[in-house]
Amino acid sequence: MRLKLSILLAKLAGSLSKNVLRKSGETIPGRVLLALYPKAISELSKSRKIICVSGTNGKTSTTKALVTIISKLGTVTTSPSGSNLDRGVATALMQKSEYAVLEVDELHLSRVITEAKPVAVLLLNLTRDQLHRMHEVKRVADRWAVSAKGAPETLFIGDADDPFVELALASAAQSHRVSFGGRKHLDGAVCPSCGIYLKWNRNDYKCACGLTNLNADALFDSGSAAYRNATLANVTGQLLGGKVIAIDEQSLERSVNREYNGVKANLRLTKNPASWTEALTSVTGNDVVLIVNSREVDGIDTSWLWDISFAVLSGKNIVVCGERGLDIAYRLHVEGIEVEVTNNFESAISKFAKGSHVHVLAAYTAFHELVRA
């Protein structure tokens, strides 16, 4: 009875926030629910099949793809887009359904696994991101591994080519290890399992302690991050009894097309070394806007810009903006690439002629502001 009342109050708070305060109202219900009824996530998970999606990059879009697949098996609720902390999970679970597909933040995954007891957890990748909050990749990987070990009823599906994902898969009682033929990892010099220098043979690793991406349960061709995430969504769907669907990989790139006074802009989310490196390969045209911010979700430090090679931008027309526009301007300057620095996006995009196609690579907060506008 108290749970039902808490849900009612939480929904009321959400609608007040939306209609009176004009906020998005996405996380308020979950926040209120958890305050009124701390065990809400475990209670509301009991009557349905929970599937979690976590990883550094691609959580939101992969969750959406998986929702499409699972919705053919039964009714599905999902987290509000990008709202992946425990309150987003609680918000999603307030709706009745047979399945829930939840996007979960890397550091919140342990709590959600303990409370929601998911049937399946899909782990996409684990790379450097928001080091002021995550501290180190290994720290997050260790938490995943402990959670995986403590959840023998849960099937863990993941990309074994990422040694930090593989650490969790190897710790799980039930796992489905997917490989795309191996891939280098920026933090792959040390074995996350035993701490010795990790032995790589081209794109494959094999440690003396046994950690390896070889002998995977499923082997696919190599490809873009979007392709890998689409494949992982389909593999997960299949293991749960779903049918493979055709997934538009572009929809998994977190990219959106917009027009600003006749200038066509392709907006793309770039938030850490891995997503920048992936996004830079898509820059085919000559006109580019780069936006760098440093709010909490962007990462409050910008040192990681020096992890990325921007060589592909050489010779292009580049305008930068954002709170940390100067950081990227100087980083590119040292790489021999000169840019124009502007105060905001409006003035950055206005530098381009009508009819031009501009690639906009935007920090997390900048991307969301532009998409919402």
């Binding site: 450097r128 080091l131 002021h132 501290h135 180190e136 990749v137 290994k138 720290r139 920026l186 933090d187 010099a189 040390v190 701490g195 010795i196 220098y197 409050i300 430090d301 910008t302 040192s303 990681w304 810009l305 020096w306 992890d307 100067l326 950081d327 301007a329 100087y330 980083r331 300057h333 040292v334 790489e335």
Partner: protein, 234 residues
């Protein structure tokens, strides 16, 4: 000397916090001074080059830090560093790298002996120190900015001098000083990378490495970036 060799030690291990950019900034500033540079990346299994002019170490996670230490204690590497110091070569070590070149530090819950190049010891603190940092450098006499993200508390011995007096942030942990310096050996907790945010410090290292004084560089963007960071970190 119109050519210098910049040795980036174990970037595959000590590259977690962007400090690899220090080598690029040194090479970039050197070009203005008419100095040609070679950046030599030394891997975990490689011997250290004996003729480096500037040796760089960066920040890392514990396991990577221990592997780097082990490799630097292996074969003739430590002797090569001692000879380099005698020759007047420069060492810039950041965060985990700073701890490695000290007398003792903690990693993965155990105390280990460092390389002993700087008279400091580091111990773990009770909370992680994360945020913008600003110091007044004892060596340069002006403000430096950067970003710190570490658990370490570093205590200076009698033969090491603090590298900077903390204005904002924590530095060595007491909120008073950051880093340590002895001759041409510099240790600091400042990421950023430190030479990108403080290009005059890069110039000083080039002067120390070559023994020559250079004319001031005109690079408006570098100046704008450095002075903006000094202004916004209160």
């Amino acid at each position: 000397m119109s050519q210098i060799r910049i040795v980036r030690i174990h970037n595959e291990l000590l590259g977690t916090y962007g400090d690899q950019g220090n080598a690029e900034v040194l090479a970039f500033r050197a070009k203005f001074h008419g100095i040609t540079t070679t950046i030599i990346d030394v891997g975990y299994n490689d011997p250290l080059p004996t003729n480096g002019d500037i040796y760089l170490l960066g920040g890392a996670e514990d396991a990577a830090q221990l592997l780097s230490l082990e490799a630097l204690q292996r074969d003739d590497n430590l002797n090569i560093l001692h000879f380099a110091i005698e020759r007047g070569a420069v060492i810039l070590a950041v965060c985990a790298g700073f701890q490695i070149i000290g007398n003792k530090f903690w990693a993965n819950g155990q105390e280990v002996d460092g390389l002993g190049l700087l008279d400091v010891i580091s111990v773990p603190g009770d909370k992680r120190l994360v945020g913008d940092i600003k110091t007044i450098s004892t060596v340069l006499g002006f403000e430096l900015t950067g970003f710190e993200n570490h658990m370490g508390r570093t205590i200076l011995g009698s033969s090491a001098e603090a590298f900077g007096k903390v204005v904002t942030g924590n530095g060595n942990g007491d909120g008073k000083f950051d880093g340590a310096v002895l001759g041409n050996i510099f240790g600091t907790y400042m990421h950023g990378p430190i030479l990108a945010r403080n290009p005059e410090f890069a110039d000083l290292l080039l002067t120390r490495a070559t023994g020559r004084k250079y004319a001031q560089i005109t690079d408006p963007l570098a100046l704008k970036y450095a002075s903006w960071r000094r202004k916004v970190i209160k």
